[in-house]
């Protein structure tokens, strides 16, 4: 995983004056958003429903293209990456609100899915999946199908899957939106420990408990970004 740097010359990921319209300009989802994420950051993105959080996350993750403005990864414009899929595969991990596990595959097999785009061979894939399941505390559940797991366990599997190809940045869109508060708490703890290991995280959340745990909080209002940066917080770990 990437070493956090005190004041990096080039940010890990940056948005420059990004605007995104939908429906031929009738819907303004994002307006002139600029931001930077550095290696080792732990950012919570909050805002009311419809404020543009998912739109921003999708743009940052190369799933969507801005109407104007630029997204840069380590200083390089995302449009310069030949295949955005390849960029996502090697650099990013995604976690979704509704897990999106494949119902016919076991936990261990779900975790292996992104690895088909890596250079790992079958035995190495299995080994790596076992490591990851151990990391999220689910070794004993490796051979279970998603419907045999609790919702909290499913999200852990999804997080393990997001880490499959050793990404440098984890993007999560309301990862605890479908979980009760105590289950959500254990997922927060997992994110904390990933951060402690050096992972960079950007999480969309409605949950004030999670936004409090993050090092920085960004708030979107009608597509505009206002940073409620909390640099005063002591760096843990």
């Amino acid at each position: 995983m990437t070493e956090p740097t005190a004041s990096p010359a080039v940010p890990l990921l940056e948005a420059v004056a990004v605007t995104r319209y939908f429906e031929d300009g009738q819907v303004t989802a994002l307006k002139d958003v600029s931001l930077q994420i550095d290696s080792g950051d732990y950012v919570a993105l909050v805002g009311k429903s419809g404020s543009g959080k998912s739109t921003l996350l999708n743009l940052l993750g190369g799933l969507d293209h801005p109407t104007s403005g630029a997204i840069r990864y380590r200083g390089k414009d995302l449009s310069e990456f030949g295949d955005p899929a390849q960029f996502r595969s090697s650099e990013l991990g995604f976690v979704f609100q509704s897990f999106h596990l494949i119902s016919v595959l076991t936990a261990e097999q779900n975790v292996q899915m992104p690895m088909f785009e890596s250079s790992l061979r079958a035995p190495e894939r299995r080994e790596r999946a076992a490591e990851l399941l151990e990391r999220v505390g689910l070794t004993h559940r490796a051979r279970h199908l998603p419907q045999q797991l609790s919702v909290g366990e499913r999200q852990r599997v999804a997080i393990a899957r997001a880490l499959a190809n050793r990404p440098s940045l984890l993007l999560a869109d309301e990862p605890t939106g479908n979980l009760d508060s105590s289950t959500a708490e254990s997922i927060f703890a997992l994110f904390d420990s990933l951060h402690a290991d050096g992972m960079t995280l950007l999480l969309i959340t409605h949950d004030p408990l999670l936004s409090e745990r993050a090092r920085r909080t960004w708030t979107l209002r009608d597509g505009r970004l206002g940073e409620a940066d909390d640099d005063a917080k002591p760096e843990s770990a």
Binding site: N58, G61, L63, D64, D83, A85, Q86, F87, R88, S89, S90, L92, G93, F94, F96, H100, I102, S103, V104, L105, E108, Q109, Q112, M113, P114, F116, E117, A122, R125, R126, R161, A162, A164, N165
Partner: protein, 376 residues
């Protein structure tokens, strides 16, 4: 985990649909393989028919579509014998009689002179050859004998009130032969009021290479004033109307089977893609390239096809064996399938998988991850 495991799990995870698609393909393959197989068997039988009798060139009336409707004067035989390169000429009268009730095909009755090559070459399983040129006797092919339920010593009524005695039963690897009967030429001519008439002449040639046979056929045509058609037996068999009709029928059926099969496959794979829109979008978000999505969907279609092909070929082998064992169809169908027909069936199934899987695979790959993830 192998990529194949994913493909397999996706199919196994929707067992009802996978099995239905698989059986659709199996039926299409079985239909095509059985039909092509039977037609091929037909063709082979017709070709071998003449080879087995040592007949090289066939002479029949010019301009007749079907051999059985050809009529020639028996006396032409002498003119043919005089042609250079002819070793022997055997006249034959062929009638198709309805001996079995409700039989659509009729039974082929071949009149040959008892001392002719084709009669002398019969492989008798039981009984003996004809006692004389005008004997009211028949020698019955094995398959026909079992269809008619007769044996040596029994009688067969060729026409009502015209009993002929069964003196022999012969064996032939050829379904046509084995489903027919031999009668002395004179007796058949008398019975049918066709004295002096024959259907064709079977010519035995001195030189048997295709080139010489075509030359000989041309000389015979000239020698008899162009009123006859003379052709090497192999060419004739290959061109016969029966074979051409059967062949085009088989192809027509195949086209229908391909159409129905690929629509079934298209439907299944389209459903599979539609149902899994979010799943596929998620895989794309996790870094799967388009071509991997295509590989997964096409892989599923191909796996279904291959399994369907295996079952279909197996079913057609059993089906054709079954047809051959029935008295009614056994006279026409030899029980084994040519490998080529099976190969064509497998090819067909792969084609079905490709046609039915390509569009769904393409539309799955085209999906942008954001659209797919918003799909609920």
């Amino acid at each position: 985990m192998w990529f194949l495991t994913v493909i397999f799990a996706n199919l196994r995870g929707r067992p009802a649909r996978s099995l239905l698609t698989l059986s659709g393909i199996a039926v299409a393959v079985a239909a095509v393989v059985s039909l092509l197989g039977v037609v091929r068997g037909f063709e082979r039988s017709l070709l071998e028919l003449h080879q087995g009798r040592g007949v090289d060139v066939m002479v029949q009336q010019a301009g007749r579509l079907q051999m059985t409707s050809s009529v020639l004067r028996e006396s032409i035989g002498e003119t043919i014998s005089a042609v250079n390169g002819v070793v022997a000429v055997h006249p034959s009268l062929i009638e198709v009689l309805s001996l079995i009730q409700d039989d659509l095909m009729g039974v082929v009755v071949q009149g040959w002179s008892p001392d002719s090559g084709p009669v002398q070459k019969l492989k008798l399983l039981d009984g003996a050859l004809f006692s004389g040129p005008e004997a009211r006797e028949v020698i019955v092919g094995q398959r026909l004998a079992s269809a008619l339920g007769v044996a040596v010593g029994g009688t067969v009524e060729l026409l009502e009130g015209e009993p002929f005695r069964v003196v022999g039963v012969f064996e032939s690897g050829n379904v046509f032969d084995s489903g027919s009967m031999f009668v002395p030429l004179r007796s058949l001519q008398r019975l049918m009021f066709r004295e002096g008439e024959v259907t064709m002449f079977a010519v035995v040639a001195e030189r048997r290479d295709p080139e010489s046979l075509r030359d000989l056929a041309a000389r015979i045509r000239l020698g008899v004033d162009g009123k006859v058609e003379a052709e090497p037996a192999d060419d004739l068999a290959r061109r016969s109307t029966e074979i051409r009709v059967a062949r085009s029928f088989a192809w027509l059926t195949s086209v229908i089977a391909v159409t129905i099969g690929s629509i079934g496959m298209l439907n299944t794979m389209m459903m599979a893609v539609f149902e899994r829109t979010r799943e596929i979008a998620m895989l794309r978000a996790l870094g799967w390239r388009r071509r991997r999505v295509i590989a997964m969907i096409l892989g599923e279609a191909t796996l279904l096809s291959v399994a369907g092909a295996a079952i279909g070929v197996l079913a057609s082998i059993l089906f054709v064996r079954f047809l051959a064992s029935l008295p009614a169809s056994g006279r026409l169908v030899s029980g084994d399938l040519p490998v080529a027909a099976m190969g064509q069936g497998v090819l067909l199934a792969l084609l079905l998988g490709l046609i039915g899987g390509l569009y769904p695979a393409w539309s799955a790959a085209r999906l942008t991850p954001v659209e797919g993830l918003r799909h609920d």
